[in-house]
């Protein structure tokens, strides 16, 4: 596979609780530890017994057939849904009592499968909203235009342009977010998520709707973001060239359960995964 050039040859080492983290992250606390996480919707177990550990700078992949519960995992991690089972820890902090807002403040940022930008605001304003808890300025300083307001506005503007430059989007700062082309909207969502200064970035199908060239660029950028910000990234993706190309550790979900975990090589060779994607061999022959 030629796409593999984006991935460093990572040595995966065992971590307590039967999980693996990259060797380089061994001295650090894992950014995310989920154990036996699960949620039931009226008896249906949408996600069940989800246990995963992510190293400080790991790029992880979450794959599986449609309806496997991948986005539900993201919704659990960001507390859009309250898990009914299990525990989650963010750098050793228990996330049990956190709300979506707390989770964002604690350091998990996400993008959405169906893009959720603030369409009527400009690109810059979208990123500034991501900076909401990074560069602060109270209501009264804002209304009275205190020096603090001008300082905060300037800082926000500079930081926004800096972040937009990751994807060469600084020139679009004054465009209406809703009028951007699809690919640019996806990239803007990533920039906006990065603005919240996350420790863990969750990307829900970042390459959806992108052409192979754009996907290639995106892969470079995801690796670049990880190296530059030294954060962990967990992504859901159907484009296997991207997943196999940049993910160091992959987790396969089917019917809400983890059916396989391992490096891209291990996953590609795993019979359970092949079965989940292609069906049983016998059926295929019949």
């Amino acid at each position: 596979m030629s796409e593999r050039k984006h991935r460093q040859q990572t040595q995966m080492v065992p971590y307590p609780s039967k999980s693996f983290v990259p060797e380089r992250d061994l001295g650090f606390m894992p950014v995310l530890e989920c154990s036996h996480l699960g949620i039931e919707f009226g008896g249906l177990k949408a996600v069940d017994d989800f246990s995963v550990v992510m190293g400080k700078t790991e790029i992880g992949g979450l794959i599986g057939p449609n309806g496997a519960g991948k986005t539900t995992v993201f919704n659990l991690l960001t507390k859009v849904y309250q898990p009914t089972h299990g525990t989650m820890m963010l750098e050793g902090r228990d996330m049990g009592n956190m709300t979506t807002v707390d989770v964002s403040k604690a350091g998990i940022a996400r993008t959405f499968q169906n893009i959720r930008l603030f369409n009527n605001m400009t690109v810059e304003e979208n990123v500034r909203i991501g900076l909401h808890n990074q560069i602060r300025c109270g209501m009264f300083s804002g209304i009275l235009r205190m020096p603090k307001y001008w300082k905060a506005e300037k800082e926000q503007h500079e930081k926004t342009l800096e972040l937009l430059n990751i994807f060469d989007m600084a020139g679009m700062a004054d465009e209406r977010a809703g009028s951007l082309p699809y690919g640019a909207q996806r990239r803007l969502e990533i920039v906006r998520a990065l603005a919240t200064n996350p420790k863990l970035l969750l990307l829900d199908e970042p390459a959806a709707g992108m052409n192979p060239h754009e996907t290639e660029e995106l892969m470079e950028n995801i690796t670049k973001i990880r190296d530059q910000f030294r954060i962990a990234i967990l992504l859901i993706e159907h484009d296997m060239s991207l997943v196999m190309g940049i993910c160091e550790d992959i987790c396969v979900l089917n019917f809400g359960k983890i059916i396989a975990k391992g490096t891209p090589e291990e996953i590609q060779a795993n019979p359970a995964v092949i079965e989940a994607y292609l069906g049983k061999r016998k059926e295929a022959e019949a």
């Binding site: 919707f41 986005t71 919704n75 859009v80 959405f112």
Partner: protein
């Protein structure tokens, strides 16, 4: 005896609320909008009955049928002209349009019939029933209202459960997109819903003005809002909920007026609404909805 008399009046008033609430609850369940003008359709219905009885000297049955016809046409027209173009618009736009529609009906009525209250004629030529040696008086309007409520509730429940149109309504209320894919004519189903709701509004108008015989252009708005309260109270989208909510609300209002304060009667009803929405936003018999992410 005063207690019993209040109870009967409460159930009677509540039955009117229940019939109005049906219009709200069906439209809310199927078109997912608050038809603010529904209360004013009641008022139009009452004026039609008034005109039919007073000026054209029609027999009571024809008065009611005339009012139902006019209201049905009115309901369908309102939906086609004002709400249908806004199917894809924000909830804010739809609600503002509905408020505009409500004002339009009120002010048109004001121009046609004037601001002076009309004394509504008594259509039911029956005697008051005296119980317990003449201590408890039950007016014929009261009994007819309660009976009408029960008949309408039963008929509507059967209609929704048994007929093809009823099934289509349930489908559209559950998932409009899927219903359309299954070949259900969504626009027609919504029109039918408005038609039924408006026809019921005409009956509600007649019953309301029979019990409280003062007819003005604003007659419908307050009962309309209270009936919406009743629909929310019982659980919006639920027909038995509308009945339960309506009757409970009517009883609460009459008792509030009798035992707490006449001036605060409306305030008490609205306080009930607020408490219900805070404690149980889905109402007594409603189902919770989950937002998809």
């Amino acid at each position: 005896m005063v207690f019993l008399s209040n109870l009967v009046n409460g159930i009677s008033l509540g039955s009117i609320y229940a019939i109005i609430a049906l219009g709200y609850t069906m439209v809310y369940g199927i078109a997912k909008m608050l038809n603010f003008a529904h209360g004013d359709v009641i008022m139009v219905g009452a004026y039609i009955v008034f005109c039919a009885a007073q000026y054209w000297n029609l027999p009571p049955v024809l008065c009611v049928i005339a009012a139902m016809l006019v209201c049905t046409l009115l309901g369908i027209t309102i939906e086609k002209l004002a709400y249908k173009p806004l199917r894809q618009a924000t909830g804010l736009a739809v609600l503002i349009t509905a408020i505009g529609m409500s004002y339009l009906l009120q002010n048109t009525a004001l121009l046609i019939w004037g601001a002076n209250p009309k004394v509504f004629p008594s259509l039911f030529a029956l005697d008051t029933i005296w119980l317990f040696n003449g201590q408890l008086a039950i007016k014929p309007e009261t009994l007819i209202t309660i009976a009408a409520n029960i008949v309408i509730m039963t008929a509507l429940t059967l209609f929704i459960a048994k007929t093809k149109t009823g099934k289509a309504m349930r489908c559209v209320s559950e998932d409009r997109g899927a219903a359309e894919l299954m070949g259900i004519n969504v626009n027609r189903t919504i029109s039918v819903t408005f038609a039924i709701g408006s026809a019921l509004a005409a009956i509600a108008g007649l019953l309301l003005c029979s019990s409280y015989p003062q007819l003005m252009p604003t007659t419908g708005s307050m009962p309309g809002i209270k009936a919406f309260t009743a629909a929310v109270f019982g659980g919006i989208g639920s027909i038995p909920g509308a009945m339960l909510g309506g009757v409970l609300l009517g009883v609460i209002e009459i008792f509030g007026k009798a035992y707490i304060s006449t001036e605060l009667g409306d305030a008490i009803v609205f306080a009930v609404l607020i408490i219900v929405l805070l404690v149980r936003p889905t109402g007594l018999l409603g189902k919770p909805i989950r937002e998809k992410v």
